[in-house]
Symmetry: D2
Subunit: 142 residues, 4 copies
């Protein structure tokens, strides 16, 4: 599917003594991209959590290819990797904007739970919106 793109400018707070983004902070960028991606689908986290549905990350992975550096302007590209009964895998690519270069690639798995942290099926409206996205993409590729 066509990823959702969020821009981000790297500041000193993000970097470590090697003048590159500290490795844990890529996961923070993943959150930033994920949040805007879901907002673009009309599924803002705040609205979902107001319905008593929470989406803790149950797994995270990142491969670091080239360093993100101070003051880099980044593109955070977010897409759905996998839609399962009670979880979603979100895929995350971090690009330098100019010249466009892939710097890191990872994924996060979101579980769906209720207030008592019991596993829930992905809500129907979320499933529908993601299916719609995936279908659009399949149609475009034909």
């Amino acid at each position: 599917m066509k990823p959702y793109v969020t821009e981000y400018r790297v500041i000193y707070a993000d970097c470590d003594p090697f003048d590159v983004m500290y490795y844990a902070n890529y996961l923070t960028l993943f959150e930033r991209g994920r949040t805007e991606f879901f907002r673009s689908l009309g599924l803002a986290y705040r609205d979902i959590s107001d319905r008593g549905i929470y989406t803790p990350v149950s797994e995270a992975h990142c491969k670091y290819f080239k360093s993100v550096r101070y003051d880099d302007l980044l593109l955070i590209e977010t897409s759905i990797g996998l839609l399962k009964k009670a979880s979603i895998r979100v895929d995350h690519d971090i690009y330098k904007k100019e010249p466009r270069t892939l710097l890191a690639r990872g994924y996060t798995v979101l579980a769906f739970v209720n207030r008592d942290v019991k596993i829930q099926p992905v809500p129907p409206d979320v499933v529908e919106k993601i299916r719609h996205l995936l279908d659009e993409d399949a149609a475009q590729r034909q």
Copy 2:
């Protein structure tokens, strides 16, 4: 008063591209020291918040004298600066352990509020424990 001392070892996550602790992270050290100081008084934050009393920071200040560097072993020294009706000023000194060197000095002001974020007087048991500390200190100085 004699400050409460907490040790802390600086990691890469704390530092910025100048190989020194990022300036906002000193306030995180202040929290670390404050937490252990209140725990030492039998006033763990968790217990206080379980009683419906919260202590948001209403003001923070820091002067940076010398850089905290990667892998430094620090002493976070915490003491009460001022006890007021509905707030406490906590004083924070950050020392390098060896050789003992003052690196930064600051304070945080804690307001006392209830669940509805309405200002509350400092609870009597907190006042008593802090007064006791201050009296002990005055007695020792005589």
Copy 3:
């Protein structure tokens, strides 16, 4: 002077268990605003540090009026508070965008140093650009 405005959307990474921005992270917002303010003057940090001039923060202060909350869209307003021989005080206001509400106000003092961390006068081109800003502002107020 008319402040420089940078927008910022709050994510979970910025917040603490009270569902509000963690108090140290306001200083990170200050950096974000400061960086874009100086870039807007043609004085990007990267260019300044390439000339062997560094601007460590020697003092920071913040008053917290109302909580910054998750998913808030903020305006970070940055202006020059004071121009001295070897330092600049930068003023920082954090507003909620809608409805416009002042949430926090602070300042940071930037020292100017060379590679050996020796104090330097503020470079002439920086002085000139800041003076120009302050003069424009004085002219507009007449």
Copy 4:
């Protein structure tokens, strides 16, 4: 092999609005454990980087089983997962101390590079110390 154990107390700065540790901060705990593990082998990062050898993380992974909560006292357990020609996989387990409960498990892959970010073989003294550890462990299991 027997893991190296580092204690850590969770503070508000580490947590998010769900009153649990923010998912990226587990990777910061991994760094904390890794640093103390290598120091225990006489291989402090600072000494290694002084020799012009750097160990950027090329891959990171974490599975989150149960939430790390505010004020939890944690055990960060660190061990060598895999020793390769030019990289090391370090394994990380995060336990709650009392009652001992596994909360998260992950790994990081450290590449070895020189100042020009060219891949280097793992230095002989590092190989030797890790082999020694692995042999000790094999001997104890017999």
